[in-house]
Amino acid sequence: MKQLLNADQVQTALETLYQAILADIPADLPFAVVGIRTRGETLAQRIATRLADDHPDHFVGVGVLDIGFYRDDLSRRRGAPLVRATEIDFDLDGAWVLLIDDVLQTGRSIRAALQALLDFGRPKTIRLGVLIDRGGRELPIAADFVGASVDVPDGKRIQVHLAETDGEESVCTVKKD
């Protein structure tokens, strides 16, 4: 395991991400934040808390998406880890929806998340925010807001550690298993 970002650098990346979102958020639309399990959920909670403070009038809610049933590799996978419930208990129709994940690589999770999200309603706009963009896209998907871009070789996997789930804040690379 090799550390890419320490706690301070994670904080800086998060702040960059937040400021980019803040600059783009529409003044006249209801907006919601939806995080992809598990780290995306934590990040979405943090971002939503601040956005709700800064723009209390249009904030409709924060949700969490489990994309387990929407993955495109279901037929090649062996074994089924637990898929948790998706929790979006507000109306997405006509809203400005911010989708949040921790790491963007192939874009396949985001494709699945978009399909899942559209089963819940018809948002006016969906924007994507990620803490780390590591390159290596396999689908034509790009993030609208990025905390930090890093260059990581193909054989490595990125792990984001957050205080709520891991007891510390860091971004590391580990060997792919």
């Binding site: 387990g68 062996r78 948790r84 998706t86 089963d119």
Partner: protein
Amino acid sequence: MAKKASAPSRKTSKAAKAKKKTARRKPRRPSATKATPPPAPSAEFVWRRKDLLGLDELTAQEIVHILDTAESFREVSTRSIKKVPALRGKVVALMFFEDSTRTRMSFELAASRLSADTVLFTAKGSSVTKGETTVDTARNIAAMGVDIMVVRHSQSGAPHLLARSLPSISVINAGDGSHAHPTQALLDIFTIRQRLGRIEGLKVAIVGDIAHSRVARSNILGLRKLGAEVIVVGPPTLVPRAITAMGCQISHDLDDVLPEVDVINMLRIQFERFEASQFPSLREYHIQYGLTGERLKSCNPNVLVMHPGPINRGVEITSEVADGPNSCILQQVTNGLAVRMALLYLVSQGSE
């Protein structure tokens, strides 16, 4: 009858042996199982089975994994678009060698909410009446490119036979003879957990024709594995003594049992399987073992009343109780859909 009876009893003793084994092992590490809360290990756990034949072969952790997955699928049924693409492009064959309406529709709907295609086979008016064997029938349908078979059969062990004969296909047991009905037991356990918040430490009464009931057998196995106490109740002619080998107690007096239980699962009296000698009349059965409003008064006020359906109103249960606030009979049906979605999804991901 003699031939029919021998098959289930062999199965029972086999299941009983397996149960004994776990029962003997259990006391050795009670603290280990109690110390870990069920949801935590389940999050790390990965499902590997390609078939679901009975609860005897599952570990407590696997059962909890099914229940937790079903919880996620329950949410899907509350959406405006009640469908996820998890089984897109897969084919589920519903092989109903024995009649069923509820279970068949539940599986059919579960498959369609997962975006799978379904084909239905019923024994009536099929090649079975022309003399084809069960395995040949299944092989022919498998040859059309089926991924999962849901099997209901009047002969105990038929789904196991098909799972062995068709190694590349997932088989789910939707009820075989008097042997097992794992999906019914899982939805019962799911409903108990949903209503009462736990399984461990609960006292569950299963009342009725225990001898012929696959629902009773599967419920006993599942409930015992998750740490509940089970009392089976019925007339001596319908409660085989050997059932205690599965780890449950026996009572022939319903009034004696009611005040101490948390859950009452009333089985259907199956007219079609009865012989005149087993009990005098439906009226007498109702008087001794029917769940009435009067009897319910002696229970814990939060007691959960269950029934796998179809109900014989006025025989094993009165309308007052079946439609009353303690009843969760329709909730069982709703939950059955989520549990079957979970099982179809899990076996499709399994690879043993």
